[in-house]
């Protein structure tokens, strides 16, 4: 038994080393600048650096839009699967797994091609204006559907796990018997029971959008992750400092979520 424990602590210790050293080294890298000694300059400079606020706000805006749309699409569909359309279940399952088969880089290659159709074929139609509008650099809406698609597998799993714990038909039946309409039954009876799952889904989507680099970079927009890379060429310390901060924020969010919902395990499996 003692030997077994030794082995276990050895494994955990090595893993801890491997996962903590890069974090610690990143922090050291940002505060211990060669030739300058210990300085917190990199952290204080973040907010005043060009593009930080705008790129972060852009990412947050994109995340909010993505979360809103993905939940509006998925929640009614998933609830309906439990209520009256079980035969659609495999369809929804396949649709939500498809994004796993298409790597983001291939997906963005496809999106780029579609966007090129605009100038080539539609330049004389009113649709062309839409193509221009959704590629507005201030709020490139074209990224939102892409992110929604990429979030589908995570959201599906989070909601599925949440719904498994709730007897939706009985809940809705009870609400309807008490005189609630369909929207009321959904909003007042089903959704509160899904609070944990909704939080999970939203959080996973938020993390995905904040960290997303591939699609945004190749379509030529500059949300948060793209900005960090662009700034890294000239200010290495600063970009690492921002990376450290973004990881910390993600971690705190997840821990808070785990504490609030007591659903750490479903969250982590997303």
């Amino acid at each position: 038994m003692a030997r077994l424990n030794l082995w276990r602590w050895g494994v955990l210790g090595l893993a801890g080393l491997y996962f903590l050293v890069p974090m610690a080294a990143s922090v050291v890298f940002t505060v211990d600048v060669p030739g300058q000694g210990i300085t917190f300059d990199a952290y204080t400079r973040i907010f005043s650096t060009d593009g930080f606020v705008s790129s972060l706000l852009l990412s947050l805006g994109l995340a909010a839009a993505t979360i809103a749309i993905v939940l509006l699409l998925m929640v009614p569909a998933m609830v309906a699967l439990r209520l009256g359309a079980p035969r659609l279940r495999p369809v929804v399952e396949v649709v939500c797994s498809l994004p796993l088969v298409v790597p983001p880089i291939a997906f963005v290659a496809g999106i780029g091609t579609v966007l090129k159709w605009g100038p080539e074929h539609l330049s004389r139609t009113p649709l062309f204006q839409t193509f221009v509008a959704i590629q507005n650099p201030d709020f490139p809406f074209v990224l939102v559907p892409a992110y929604v698609v990429m979030a589908l597998p995570f959201v599906y799993r989070a909601l599925d796990a949440g719904l498994r714990a709730v007897d939706v038909p009985t809940l809705v039946e009870a609400a309807r018997s008490c005189g609630a309409g369909w929207p009321q039954a959904l909003v007042r009876a089903v959704l509160p029971n899904l609070r944990g799952a909704l939080l999970n889904a939203s959080f996973l989507t938020l993390a995905l959008v904040l960290g997303e680099f591939t699609v945004a970079q190749l379509l030529g927009f500059q949300p948060f992750a793209v900005w960090i890379v662009n700034v890294s060429g000239s200010q290495a310390q600063l970009s690492v400092a921002v990376s450290v901060l973004s990881l910390l924020v993600t971690w705190v969010l997840l821990l808070a979520l785990a504490g609030a919902g007591g659903r750490t395990r479903t969250a982590s499996r997303g």
Partner: protein
């Protein structure tokens, strides 16, 4: 409410059935329409582009398999094989290292430790991308903290290489393996171990004849999942190595942004199609395995 009651009274079984079914279709429809547009259009674009060639002189397009042939030759083939090799090596290592870690956590008697490791794994498994690349550049890059303090540069250490990338990829692959394999390890009943012990089996025999066969589908499933995850990764490599290691994702990105010859966009689409086929193969292996392993967890 009165209106609803009267209607329900007036129309008994038939209408209540219809009322229940109607929201089903209607609620799923927006999702299907949305994916048909947001996912279907790009998919069609990939397929269409991968099989068309545009003649620069006459401007006419024709259907051919030329792009696909090109995508499996020369530098493109090297990149594709480089990606497969990198993904295979890091997936194998990730699975090998993730299993003991998950086992150590599952058999631990501290629920807090278990929760902490699983939460951390959840964060780290999604930690690919840019911040990960920078953390490693800061640690083991040319001017990295460990490189400087341990004098690694003299030993020939190079983060921007194949093995450097493997080391970085393991950072999100090992947690992914831990997350994938933990439910299966949870499913190993203590009674099985006790039964094996009562029949005189050693720990090695127990693992060889009981635990591993039960775990095998989950292990293989985890392996292909790790492979797919490493295969699709782009941001980490792009932010870290540029193009010093040949990878298919970097090739596609180069071709899309027009960094290479003009007119290679369709080869990029053909490469994308190659990737989709590989990823599709991975999922085709993974899903049945996952279903198989679910049998033991019920």
């Amino acid at each position: 409410m009165t209106a609803a009651l009267t209607r329900a009274d007036a129309a008994p079984v038939a209408s209540s059935k219809r009322r229940r079914r109607a929201p089903g279709w209607l609620a799923v429809l927006p999702l299907l329409v949305f994916t048909a547009v947001a996912f279907g259009l790009p998919a069609v674009a990939i397929l269409n582009g991968a099989f068309t060639v545009k003649d620069p002189a006459s401007g006419t397009t024709s259907y051919t398999t030329e792009n696909l042939t090109t995508s499996l030759q020369g530098a493109y083939l090297t990149a594709l094989l480089g990606s497969v090799k990198l993904s295979a090596v890091s997936a194998a290592l990730g699975a090998l290292l993730g299993l003991p870690l998950a086992q150590a956590v599952v058999t631990s008697r501290f629920p807090a430790l278990r929760e902490a490791v699983l939460t951390a794994s959840g964060v780290l498994a999604n930690f690919g991308g840019v911040p990960l690349a920078f953390a490693f550049v800061a640690t083991l890059g040319n001017a990295g903290v460990l490189t400087r303090h341990l004098g690694l540069a003299d030993t020939g250490w190079d983060l921007y290489s194949f093995w450097g990338l493997v080391l970085v990829y393991l950072y999100f692959l090992i947690p992914l393996m831990v997350l994938t394999i933990t439910p299966a390890l949870d499913g190993l009943r203590t009674q099985w171990r006790e039964a094996a012990q009562n029949n005189g089996a050693t720990a090695v025999q127990y693992w060889r004849h009981v635990a591993l066969p039960v775990l095998l589908p989950s292990l293989l499933g985890g392996l292909v999942l790790l492979f797919g995850s490493a295969f699709a990764a782009y941001a980490t490599a792009a932010a870290m190595v540029g193009s010093s290691v040949p990878l298919v994702t970097l090739q596609i990105a180069d071709a899309i942004s027009g960094n290479v010859l003009v007119g290679q966009e369709n080869v990029a689409l053909a490469l994308s199609l190659d990737m989709v086929l590989v990823a599709g193969l991975v999922m085709a292996v993974y899903l049945p395995l996952q279903r198989r392993s679910a049998r033991w967890l019920a």
